[in-house]
Amino acid sequence: MKRRITEYIFVAIAATATAVVAASLIAILWSVAAKGLPSLKWSMLTQVPKGGYYLGGGGGIANAIVGSIYLGLGATALALLVSLPTCLYLRVYLGRNPLAALVRLSLEVLWGVPSIVFGAFGFTIMVFLGLRASLLAGIITVALFELPIMIRAMDEVVKMVPAELEEAAHALGATRFETATRVVLRQALPGLVTGLLLAFGRGIGDAASVLFTAGFTDNIPHSLSDPAATLPLSIFFQLGTPFEEVHRRAYASALILTILVLLASALARILAARFAKHTWR
């Protein structure tokens, strides 16, 4: 009897914990939506800040939306350029080599490096290369920040590709490079897309890494050497003003950013499901 009671008490506690966790996470989405929606206007999406925007003047945050998207796309493309070869190399070339474990350990450590440290490092590179705070410097920094996130997600799926497929390719006379690009890559495609969009979402939402490197401007960047505004920083700056009207816009901007990130995440799921049809199981 006593054991039965313990069982019930434990289930009750565990269920309560789950409810608390779910409630707090839903509360975040709820309060951002509830605070942001009333202040969300079409002009916020389409206009750049006009004079006195941060004092309550007119305009919108198109500069930050476009800046964030440029930055996210550029950084994700750059990170893909390094992470995809890394994952394929780990799987097809290194295989069970102990070196692979060492590389993975180093990447795991890199995953835990805070984004502000990437920001500080990006600043160091920027000064070293003689760049100014610009879209390019921001893209490089965010790409470095996204790299371990992307590799972690991609390595997971590339590792799962059945060994038989790889052996079959080798048996047919394919080189390792052909095996990597035509067999492993294709088989892992759904997971790779998920990893890509996951990294994009994290990159676009991170403020600390671009603080030093991307600069901030009220204009939409026209070239890689222009400074670029980003949504997270725009939210931060708007919230930092003493004006209620500007605060409300910060809430609306937070809603826009959340929607962007959740869209990327939802898209990742849909694409993954679609590509999964073409893989061998």
Binding site: A15, I28, P114, G205, P232, I235, T258
Partner: protein, 300 residues
């Protein structure tokens, strides 16, 4: 052949990046380290850049405070939630909960910060603070005379919620990976579900659970924007959870703008980034050692 070399180059780059980051930051911090002993930097109490005083102690302590509070809140809640989802929840609930948690893992930290300012700070100021003033007079670390809400507690709460998705999603996977034969054997011997979980499932999964918590903590250690927005940013070591604190990442983020105007300031800030990196690395090493010990014990 060429393609293989290009891929090797990419792999070397990825694997070496963490060393490059540490080296780059160290080189930039060196001018300051050469001018004053490292211990003075780490244990110095005062941060007055214009007088060349760069003591990181209050900031290191601030970081430890918010992270510790986050861990105390998040770890029990997350482990219980993961156990509930993996062992008790009906499949339908799981089917909803898992994608939701993964989705929430992607919410940007600045959004958590906005929520913290909107909800957590007022909650601490209006509810928890007055309650502590009335009831916690003699309890160390919890007693306070007044709280404006912007405090290490607010920072810890926001951080805890930020790491929920990370810890839960990994722990859940770890628990699910325990073969069901183990559970069936225990249940067949007459153990209740609770006993099975405590004595069989968790024991079997403990290395993975350690790894899950470690992932969450290293995320919390370096989190910047959300904490910066709610922790108060006062450069003294907090004495109570209701005091304001100033974690290292917030220090770096708040002062980047003035870096070039004061001598040694950039060295000091990049040095703080280096210190933060080392804190994360040391934590990772300890977590790995614990993980390996737990892994070793699993096969008994």
């Amino acid at each position: 052949m060429l393609a293989g070399q290009a891929m090797l180059a990419a792999t070397t780059f990825s694997a070496g990046l963490v060393v490059a980051i540490a080296a780059g930051l160290y080189l930039r911090a060196r001018p300051l380290i050469l001018r004053q002993p490292v211990l003075k930097l780490l244990l110095g109490e005062s941060w007055i850049p214009s007088q060349g005083q760069f003591g990181l102690k209050p900031f290191i302590i601030g970081t430890v405070w918010v992270t510790a509070i986050a861990v105390v809140i998040a770890v029990p809640l997350c482990l219980l939630t993961a156990v509930f989802l993996a062992e008790y929840a009906p499949p339908r609930l799981r089917a909803v909960a898992k994608p939701l948690i993964d989705l929430l893992a992607g919410i940007p930290s600045v959004v958590y910060g906005v929520w913290g300012v909107l909800v957590v700070v007022p909650f601490v100021a209006d509810k928890l603070g007055p309650f502590a003033v009335a009831h916690f007079k003699s309890i160390p670390y919890l007693s306070t005379e007044y709280s404006a809400g912007y405090s290490v507690l607010a920072g810890g709460i926001v951080l805890a919620i930020m790491v929920f998705p990370v810890i839960i999603s990994v722990s859940d996977e770890v628990l699910r990976a325990v073969p069901s034969e183990f559970r069936e054997a225990a249940l067949a011997l007459g153990a209740t579900r609770f006993e099975t979980i405590c004595k069989v499932v968790i024991r079997r999964a403990r290395a993975g659970l350690v790894a899950a918590v470690a992932l969450g903590v290293s995320r919390a250690l370096g989190e910047t924007m959300a904490v910066l927005m709610v922790a108060g940013n006062v450069a003294t070591a907090p004495k109570s959870v209701f005091d304001a604190g100033y974690p290292l990442p917030a220090l770096i983020a708040n002062n980047y703008g003035e870096v070039m105007s004061i001598p040694m300031y950039d060295s000091a800030l990049l040095g703080s980034a280096f210190v933060l990196l080392i804190m994360v690395l040391v934590f990772n090493l300890i977590a790995r050692a614990v993980f390996l010990r737990a892994l070793h014990g699993e096969h008994i």
